[in-house]
């Protein structure tokens, strides 16, 4: 329900994976002598001295620090987008005429009301709601925790008819999209059911 950086993660993994794969394969290719025909210096028995000599060039420390900074920025930015975001809508403006005053409703306020409404549904023990979009075309993302024996289809119908109807009435517009995810509430103890007869 919450937004994650799925696309960024996959692109990052593909790019860095390819880089590591290519370097690894290149090392193996030299090690197994596959590159010797191309360049005699890259022979399997040669030592790694030439690689180290690159690090001994003047200004290489400066380059290392710059590269380190770039890597640090990429790493930190990538880490920071991993926290899933709820991304609520901006506060809704719901006045008839802005000249006589503004009416502001936070999306969280409406989401909370919808969640409270859902929790009064039979078989639903908990609800989380995220509201996105605009006041004219609102989108609701709903997660309900149903009891494990609840009638799932009845809950879906109840969400579609009553909860969505109430939200549409409050907002004064039909909901342009509703996504409903149904989880199952953890019950206190399944063991309670068991009976033992001597």
């Amino acid at each position: 329900m919450r937004r994650t950086a799925a696309a960024a993660n996959r692109t990052g993994l593909i790019i860095l994976g390819l880089i590591a794969l290519i370097i690894g394969l290149a090392v193996l290719a030299i090690g197994f002598g596959l590159t010797a025909p191309v360049d005699p210096a890259l022979e399997a028995g040669a030592d790694l001295g030439p690689v180290a000599s690159v690090l001994a060039l003047p200004y290489s420390a400066l380059i290392a620090v710059v590269v380190a900074l770039i890597l640090a920025i990429i790493g930190l930015r990538w880490l920071s987008v991993q926290v899933p975001r709820k991304d609520f809508a901006k506060p809704f403006r719901m006045q008839a005429d802005a000249r006589t005053g503004l009416t502001t409703v936070n999306a969280e306020v409406i989401a909370e009301a919808v969640a409270a409404d859902l929790e009064s549904t039979d078989g639903v023990s908990d609800a989380t709601v995220i509201l996105r979009g605009t006041a004219r075309s609102p989108e609701l993302l709903i997660h309900v925790d149903a009891d494990e024996r609840a009638d799932i289809d009845a809950i879906i119908a109840e969400v579609a008819e009553r909860a969505a109807g109430n939200a549409a009435m409050a907002l004064g517009a039909p909901l342009s999209a509703v996504a409903l995810e149904i989880g199952i509430a953890r019950t206190r103890s399944r063991r309670q059911r068991s009976v033992s007869v001597q």
């Binding site: 329900m1 994650t4 799925a6 993660n9 996959r10 993994l13 994976g17 590591a20 794969l21 690894g24 394969l25 090392v27 193996l28 090690g31 197994f32 890259l42 022979e43 399997a44 028995g45 040669a46 030592d47 180290a52 000599s53 001994a56 420390a61 400066l62 620090v65 590269v67 380190a68 900074l69 770039i70 890597l71 640090a72 990429i74 790493g75 930190l76 880490l79 991993q82 075309s137 993302l141 149903a146 494990e148 024996r149 799932i152 879906i156 119908a157 579609a160 549409a168 039909p174 342009s176 999209a177 509703v178 996504a179 409903l180 995810e181 149904i182 989880g183 199952i184 399944r190 059911r193």
Partner: protein, 191 residues
């Protein structure tokens, strides 16, 4: 609206965090080495290592491309790269099951889904309702559920059939886009 609101596939948060942390470690190492070189050389024109008397230069001179260490490093790098690449490319297991829903006049686009974890819990609860079942475990993917129950009764087959019927019936009561298949295994428990 064409974009789906519910995420069907894993977003690879775990691997991304690991790779980001590796990047940060590399950055710290490189930055440390670079600054240490500045300090010892006393100028930004410093080289990262002092060839040929530094330990690294010496070690590199003694290492050969076909030595076991270098080959091992190459294999590890290539493998890790391949794993990261596959994690990025492959869509991963679906984590939700679509449920068809009629919607209503208040809703433009209605999308309903059940996570596979919820499916397992529903199956386990249904199986647990059968008499003679003392414990249930269920695991699911987007297409099937495997229910493993334990029972103290010697003749498990009738109970197995009953459990299977109970779970199937429970699944049939939910209008899945594609009803998951059910497989039931019995395990005798000591008691």
């Amino acid at each position: 609206m064409s974009t789906r609101l519910l995420r069907k596939r894993p977003s690879r948060i775990g691997p991304a965090v690991v790779v980001a942390l590796i990047l940060l470690l590399l950055a710290v190492g490189l930055g440390w080495a670079g600054i240490a070189a500045f300090v010892s050389f006393g100028s930004v024109a410093a080289a990262l290592i002092e060839a040929p008397d530094s330990a690294i230069a010496e070690a590199a001179g003694n290492l050969h491309w076909n030595s076991a260490v270098v080959i091992a490093v190459g294999i590890v790098l290539a493998l890790l790269g391949l794993i990261a690449f596959i994690l990025g490319i492959s869509p991963g297991a679906r984590r939700i099951l679509g449920v068809s829903a009629a919607g209503s006049e208040h809703i433009g686009d209605f999308e309903v889904a059940l996570p596979t974890s919820a499916l397992s819990q529903i199956a386990a609860a249904a199986a647990d309702g059968v008499d003679g079942v003392s414990g249930v475990k269920a695991s699911s993917n987007a297409r099937s559920t495997i229910v493993t129950f334990s029972t103290p009764i010697r003749d498990v087959e009738p109970i197995r059939a009953e459990v299977e019927a109970a779970v199937r019936e429970r699944f049939a009561s939910i209008s899945f886009d594609r009803t998951p298949t059910v497989k039931v295994q019995a395990r005798r428990s000591q008691s």
